[in-house]
């Protein structure tokens, strides 16, 4: 396949997945049913994993599927089911002054769009012919970024202990 054809295919893939992600994200913040919102979040997170593959980060994409779509979604569904008896639609998931959020979000979007287009314009991403090798990634994590990795392990340990202490019935 020619390189130009591959680029066109990448762009079409990006557009379709991006549209799916934006629709899913809008549904997450507008739908009136907590379980449906969680399932729309699955669409957004899986689309993000696909975008990571387009950005040649296959290990991050796999981690995204394992951690987010696998573990975090189960946590959300557990949280939903433990904190409410009924699963169906509800009328009042929004604050009473939720409308303030619309201009705030639109203003931020406008400023960021202007800055990004002004700053990057039509600059092209380099198009490597292979995904980021996992060996190089592990050399990076266990080499120059070992201390943050260590701190991160400690944070995870503290979070696990804290969650158990908080949620335990006594």
């Amino acid at each position: 396949m020619l390189a130009a054809d591959l680029l066109v295919a990448q762009n079409i893939g990006f557009g379709v997945i991006a549209l799916l992600m934006i629709v899913g994200a809008l549904r997450v913040v507008t739908v009136n049913n907590v379980v449906h919102a969680a399932l729309w979040l699955v669409v957004v997170l899986s689309g993000a994993a696909a975008q990571y593959l387009l950005l040649s980060a296959e290990f991050v994409a796999i981690t995204q599927v394992l951690v987010y779509v696998g573990a975090v979604m189960v946590l959300f569904l557990f949280g939903t089911m433990l904190t409410r008896a009924k699963i169906g639609a509800e009328a009042d998931l929004n604050n009473k002054n939720w409308a303030i959020g619309v201009p705030v979000a639109l203003l931020m979007l406008g400023v960021m769009t202007w800055v990004l287009i002004d700053g990057f314009g039509d600059e092209k991403l380099p198009n490597p012919d292979q995904q980021v090798p996992v060996q190089a990634l592990s050399d990076d994590i266990f080499g120059p970024y070992l201390l943050p990795f260590w701190a991160l392990s400690f944070v995870l340990l503290v979070a696990v202990i804290g969650a158990i202490v908080l949620a335990r019935k006594d």
Binding site: Q10, N11, F14, A18, I22, A25, V28, V29, V34, A37, V44, L45, Q51, Y52, L55, A57, V60, T63, Q64, V67, Y68, V72, L75, F76, G79, L82, T83, R84, L93, N94, N95, G101, V102, V104, A105, L109, M112, T113, L116, I117, F120, G121, E123, K124, L125, N127, V132, A136, L137, D140, I141, Y145, L152, V155, L156, A159, G162, A163, L166, A167
Partner: protein
């Protein structure tokens, strides 16, 4: 592919997440919106990782995913505790600290 298309997608997801944090009353929905924000940050990190031909962005994205998992765990435990004490997770009823 252009650099700006990934950055713009990240910006759109970030703003939708901010709207969700501001507009939602249910604490679980607010946590979901925070996940949207963290994912948009990851998208930016990976886009810049490819733009600069450096692997550091991938490392940071992995760290962000791990921190997000810890945050959701602790956050849902707190939501569960609030629900157990008050029978409700509406954030606008948690106004005890208001002067």
């Amino acid at each position: 592919m252009l650099t700006v298309q990934f950055l713009l997608l990240g910006a759109v997801l970030f703003c939708i997440g901010v709207y969700g944090v501001l507009a939602r009353k249910n604490a679980v929905m607010v946590l979901m919106s925070i996940e949207l924000i963290l994912n948009s940050v990851n998208l930016n990190l990976l886009a810049f990782s490819q733009r600069l031909d450096s692997i550091d962005g991938n490392t940071f994205a992995l760290y962000v995913i791990a921190i997000a998992a810890a945050e959701v765990g602790v956050g849902l435990a707190m939501v569960l505790l609030i629900y157990r004490n008050r029978r409700s997770i509406s954030l606008d009823e948690l106004s005890d600290m208001k002067g």
